[in-house]
Symmetry: C2
Subunit: 327 residues, 2 copies
């Protein structure tokens, strides 16, 4: 397998410049007090399509020739990558096909449709997703753009770290959420290459902790039955993302769904920023005791993303009745 390097991330940054937003940072005195560190939140929920996924999808598609994408683009995704590819396809003027589980959040389905993409329904089981994807690829001859396990996707997501190192002086640590690992591996590769002394952490839901288990045991252990409210982080590390996580990430901080919901509530209530459950996992991790035990009074950057969630989230019985402790 070819090696992915910092220079690929730099090239991705050039490709997406002017198309992707340079997202702002958010900080909060209350958050600093709660976390015991100076926290800088990279607002990737304000990226186009509401998530960092736009960077990777744009970078990957930008590298393809017109003839390669003439029959359109296809992917399978529960949400934000789907939206990202839908918009990238629209910008390139080609049809996008999305294989999506029927159970995906309504707000994400609606967004994909609004960008003009065609949805092909499947079930959540990996086998069903894959067979549906093959079926669509065969029928349409569209070009497959994977959601995370591809060097061009990883390099695109890594541009988040380049911006953060540019925007924040004297960073001591960086935290990014981890599902399939596209963001975390790209961020870790870029950040560690530029500053080997910087600590890089993944933030992962307890109920989908394959990255934590894999890093602990030194071998890739895919997730069998993920159970977490963070619907964007139920996937497992892939062939490309696992070696990068293994080599460049210092540790994975796991947080449970209560902590994720509390962090989400903090973002909405105190920071006035709407993030989805997956988007609040890194925020939850820096408020976790295990993180505070490693860093105190330091400068910590984290990625807040995405922001695609129903506005009545905090009234949905399935979200709150299951967690009476949240009150």
């Amino acid at each position: 397998m070819q090696e992915l390097s910092l220079s690929e991330v730099g090239k991705a940054a050039e490709r997406i410049r002017g198309h992707a937003h340079i997202t702002p940072l958010f900080s909060s005195r209350l958050l600093d007090a709660a976390a015991g560190n100076r926290i800088f939140c990279k607002g990737e929920h304000l990226q186009r399509v509401g998530a960092f996924k736009f960077r990777g999808a744009l970078n990957a598609v930008s590298r393809l020739s017109p003839s390669q994408i003439a029959h359109g683009l296809v992917t399978q995704s529960s949400g934000n990558h789907a939206q990202a590819l839908a918009l990238v396809g629209k910008l390139h003027g080609v049809q996008v096909h999305i294989v999506m589980p029927r159970q995906a959040p309504e707000v994400k389905k609606a967004a994909v449709v609004s960008y003009g993409a065609q949805i092909h329904w499947c079930d959540t089981a990996q086998s069903d997703r894959e067979s549906k994807l093959e079926e669509v690829m065969h029928a349409t001859r569209a070009c497959y753009i994977p959601p995370y396990d591809h060097p061009d996707i990883i390099a695109g997501q890594g541009t988040v770290a380049l911006e953060m190192l540019d925007q924040i002086d004297d960073l001591d640590a960086l935290v990014a959420p981890v599902g399939g690992g596209g963001l975390l591996s790209g961020v870790a590769l870029a950040a560690k290459s530029l500053n080997p002394g910087l600590k890089v952490y993944g933030a992962e839901p307890e109920g989908a902790d394959d990255a934590a288990r894999s890093l602990q045991q030194g071998k890739r252990l895919p997730q069998v039955n993920p159970i977490t409210i963070a619907d964007g982080l139920r996937t497992s590390l892939g062939n490309w993302t696992w070696p990068l996580v293994r080599d460049y990430v210092d540790d994975i901080i796991t947080v449970n769904d209560i902590a994720i919901l509390n962090a989400m509530k903090f973002a909405w209530g105190h920071m006035k920023q709407i993030v989805e459950p997956s988007g609040a996992v890194a925020l939850a991790s820096v408020m976790d005791e295990s993180f505070k035990a490693r860093h105190a009074d330091e400068r910590v950057g984290l990625v807040l993303s995405g922001g695609n969630v129903s506005l009545d989230f905090f009234e949905s019985t399935s979200n709150l009745d299951a967690h009476p402790a949240l009150g």
Copy 2:
């Protein structure tokens, strides 16, 4: 009555520097498309206490001597000025008394209490508010800090315009919400003094349109029975704010509650920013046809503030069942 000038706004900016946030701007391609102009939203919902009110309260209290505030501070407010004064009092180490209608939003009551202020309940009727205020002032000898009708409050709120003119090049128009007029009069005074060619508009709920009627008729016509979801904008222009609005504001754009709720939904759903109904009124106004008829393809700044609203707002039956058109 003494004249208020730009130099007072400049002095206020110096007084609050380092204590109030220099809030960021937000923009959105979708918003620009919907408004037909290039829109820059000043994120005062990210100001301390979640609203621009902190600027005025801090400026006003900073001008008082220790002996003047030795018996504490008192005000009457339905919300954001109360929170602002509560925090300013806490920073100065003095007790704050808030005369507040029982009907004020729970989230605002809770915030005032969290800053250590003491609430004295009253009814919404102006006469009841005033008699309760006098009672508390008499009993405590606390120093009264009015919510809007005072030159130091107006000068403090005017600092919003100084920042906007600094942050946005070549502005064609500025829009600020208007209730009692503290923000609008300060913004208009500062902006017109610096750039007489700039258009300055107030944005006002139809159900509390005393500023629009007053400006139209050239005389102050207080609001008798305000009916609007924008709870922060039910007040009427005062002795200080009215002449400034009359002399420096080009026009008032009125919007109905449906438009306000749609703008709020736009801010939450597309901009991922949590603003309260009053905080979305300027946003609603730039999407109104009457505004688009005056400005097209121009550069327009507006104030987004405040952000103090219950997170389950969009599920509350009183907010949405009354407006089935919102769907």
